[in-house]
Symmetry: C5
Subunit: 259 residues, 5 copies
Amino acid sequence: MDKSTIIGILTGVFLLGFSLLQGAGWQMFFSLPSFFIVIGGTVAATLVNFPLSDVIGVMKIAQKTMTHTPMSQKSIIESIVQISKKARTNGLLAIEQDLHTLDDEFFKTCLQHVINGTEPEDLRNIMETELAVMTQRHKIGQKIFMGMGTYAPAFGMVGTLIGLIKMLQDLQDPAGIGPGMALAMVTTFYGALFANLFFLPMAGKLKQRSEEEILYKELVLNGVMSVQAEESPRIIKNKLITYIAPKLRTDTGNSGNQE
Amino acid sequence: MDKSTIIGILTGVFLLGFSLLQGAGWQMFFSLPSFFIVIGGTVAATLVNFPLSDVIGVMKIAQKTMTHTPMSQKSIIESIVQISKKARTNGLLAIEQDLHTLDDEFFKTCLQHVINGTEPEDLRNIMETELAVMTQRHKIGQKIFMGMGTYAPAFGMVGTLIGLIKMLQDLQDPAGIGPGMALAMVTTFYGALFANLFFLPMAGKLKQRSEEEILYKELVLNGVMSVQAEESPRIIKNKLITYIAPKLRTDTGNSGNQE
Amino acid sequence: MDKSTIIGILTGVFLLGFSLLQGAGWQMFFSLPSFFIVIGGTVAATLVNFPLSDVIGVMKIAQKTMTHTPMSQKSIIESIVQISKKARTNGLLAIEQDLHTLDDEFFKTCLQHVINGTEPEDLRNIMETELAVMTQRHKIGQKIFMGMGTYAPAFGMVGTLIGLIKMLQDLQDPAGIGPGMALAMVTTFYGALFANLFFLPMAGKLKQRSEEEILYKELVLNGVMSVQAEESPRIIKNKLITYIAPKLRTDTGNSGNQE
Amino acid sequence: MDKSTIIGILTGVFLLGFSLLQGAGWQMFFSLPSFFIVIGGTVAATLVNFPLSDVIGVMKIAQKTMTHTPMSQKSIIESIVQISKKARTNGLLAIEQDLHTLDDEFFKTCLQHVINGTEPEDLRNIMETELAVMTQRHKIGQKIFMGMGTYAPAFGMVGTLIGLIKMLQDLQDPAGIGPGMALAMVTTFYGALFANLFFLPMAGKLKQRSEEEILYKELVLNGVMSVQAEESPRIIKNKLITYIAPKLRTDTGNSGNQE
Amino acid sequence: MDKSTIIGILTGVFLLGFSLLQGAGWQMFFSLPSFFIVIGGTVAATLVNFPLSDVIGVMKIAQKTMTHTPMSQKSIIESIVQISKKARTNGLLAIEQDLHTLDDEFFKTCLQHVINGTEPEDLRNIMETELAVMTQRHKIGQKIFMGMGTYAPAFGMVGTLIGLIKMLQDLQDPAGIGPGMALAMVTTFYGALFANLFFLPMAGKLKQRSEEEILYKELVLNGVMSVQAEESPRIIKNKLITYIAPKLRTDTGNSGNQE
């Protein structure tokens, strides 16, 4: 469960709600036509920009982002080191029985290739293509949110222009100018709010997650290739530990050095 | 047929049309002079920026984008695996008779090179040059739409400045100020609308398509080179399947593992 | 002669001229002080930004862009294939007599190196340095126009600020406010117009040309290196044809296959 | 202690404070609701954009930036040269006793690997992974400040829109228009100020520090690898001195040449 | 002496001064408080963004830029060719006596390495590290001016907001509105002017200079390495001449061909 996404959105909504409800005139901020222009225009532009299936899939991605559990690099390093010890004493085929106990699909696939006797070069090529293609897939989600974050303020401005043009045609009633402008500005407000509280930060978080996952998978791939090369568990640990921030290394590091 | 482009444009037009037609004053949004300044200025700047033939070709590209059928990666992998089996049992020359049954030009050209006995290195060099040159050609379409998406709001602003400068010279009739400003703003409205509902999203979709096509052609090239190297069909399948998103792999994957 | 640059500028000027001349008040759009602030400021900033000789040379580049004839990739491929045939039958030295019939300087230099017996590696190094240095030279032209396209709107805004600050100091005559603001806005209008109808699109066209020329020269260099390696004319043709868009290949392609 | 960060912030606050306090009306600049919208919205968007732990860690990073002591490249080169002399005369294992006198963790780790007999290639791979992972970690801090520098003005505008929409609904009291607009503008003021005096410059300083640190660590890694290769101290010095700006080289340079 | 920087700044100042002094009201453009907010704020943000020593050094860089003499590529090629002739006839050690006649530090260092018998690979590594580190040093100057060019308009806007907020609080005297707004706008004017006439163009010129210098040093390094490899002076000339624009080659080229 990714707490920060939910905390962030709730904090933002709460703060702005509080600020809107202070004093009179909060009703004007809830305008269905303004909402339809901003969200409708944004969705329309997004559909022109991206394939239908990807746009539909983006809500699933957003949901997945919020319920995401970060991967523990320490425990995966522990697993790899355990497996490398087993492989050194009992041979590579002895790993097979451990496969069923692993959760991580990428780790499993890599080990399966090792057991099947895939050549190291082929293994690296196959898994690096997999990583490259995965990165490109991840980028579509980022790009869709980034696109929505660009189109939302634009359609906010389009809606404000529509409101202003209508209002300016009939200035005979001076009392109508203020509320007319206020109504026109609500779409700009919606565009800025949706873009900066949801679309752009979501694009940023997807990017962050994708970089994290790639680093994690590179760690796994390098680890499995070291296992295949039958390097000593101590050296494997030394290599893989460089993927962890220094301040997080200590507890793992001790056991590693004692070995 | 690319549904999302058409759905997107129709949704956008419908939503904005609905919003314009609410209440009085919709006539002002249909201003032929404003239309000519925005579209004329955009086309003029685009002609200065790009070669004539490319600008003329861009409408064809836009049309092609809307009637585009996405390529199926699964079926091409199946074809490559079938051909690799044939080549392993009957020799590379036996592929020749299959050439006529293939739709894909790039796939055909690669196979023809294999049958002609082009060296693997030469084949890779030739086809990678082809890919690089194709990418550069694709980029012209993207750049033209991107350029139009930049020039349209600029000429929208130029038109608004023309309207404002004319209006400001004669402020003696206060009743004329409102409609004058409204008229001036229509070009900004046009510029923002055309850029964000059509030009920029079209540039985005062309980019998306281009990346898809390059990934697809890399898959084909890698597959054909594996056929040439007479690798086992099972290994070829394992290699190529990394180009497909994991969740789409299953049905193909089963048959692959059973082999 | 590059028609699109001239057509583009004329279309833009015509359209805007027509739009300015409609109704009264067109005189205000021709303001010499506004012109001097925008163009003078842009030129001043450009001189601070770039070396004097490059800024002076940029007008020559602009002129050259308009009178530019695109290079025919088909005919150069034909030339290379003819020369390769001659070299295969009569030896590399037999090419020397053809040198005088060639227009293209880059092609000539490459062939001269081949005749002089420059080693393939040296030839590639020398000509690739030439290409890299040429690209950097081309970029100065692009950067100058791009810089002017950035400075022009900025000085347009500076001029408008000057106008507004002067006008706002003396608001006692309400009749003067409108014309004062109109006059102030003319510099913004100039800045936006010059940037979007001339400077930015010219930068774009120079970039386009430069990419075209580099692709063309890479084709020539690869072709000449194949001639030097005494590859078969058919293979050379197959290699070089990848530089041409598929739809343009057919007529050349036929003769190539018949060979 | 990094003086420039503190001097910069104090100078900015002092200058603006002085400018605000001139004349009447300074009270309006201290608006708690405006502060909450800008900072609250910025923090909310940042939490959606980045993992919770990284956002919490960013204050620590900001503090660390201010108390940072720059590393001396000259003294580290001296150390490396001393160690290389010792290693040449007494063997690589003789370095071990110097390990405890070193402050720099990265230097220590590199030397420990040399003493442990890690192969040069492995040493380079391990330490370059460490550098790459460190760079990615550093970038999160930069990205968070950069994100805050983007969100702060956006929420400043959102706050101003809220203020304007509320004010415009009730224009009956003309005396309230001015103060209403002033109040609305304060959030824009906050957004621009926080972004340009704190968030964006801090992102820049973190980037600067990170580049400095990477250069420093590359120097150390290259130096240690030269020690491992048992190159002559004079050559090592010549190599490493290229990392220092020429004008700073002289004093070190003399001793180096006399050797 | 770099004339264009000085001509540019003088032209800009003259043009704007002329435009300000036309008509009444020029006194308002000289506002010390506005000047302090824009320059003070810009310097403050720059100090937060960059190390103190680099910010202090930037004025020296600006001065150096104005008194800079461009390097002549032709004469350095002549020198290298002369030295290569001497080295071919009298051996590499004979170059030593020429060292004292050379002005260029980088050229001297390269030759000194050749005389000292540094291996070609080591020479390339050392000098390329030197170039890479020099490029990074150069970039700090560019980044500081670029940063100032970004912060100046931002603090211009901050100053204008301060002015407007103060003015809007007290609208009872309508006669004060105009001058109040004018005063507020002066900071925006300063910010736009300093950024576009000085900071941004200076950043551009430093970038230009840096690219020029790197190209020049690559020429020198390649030339010296050819001398070390004892290539023929004619081939060295042919190689190095590719660094010069074709139209500038002729005079040197003739003597080169006659050789």
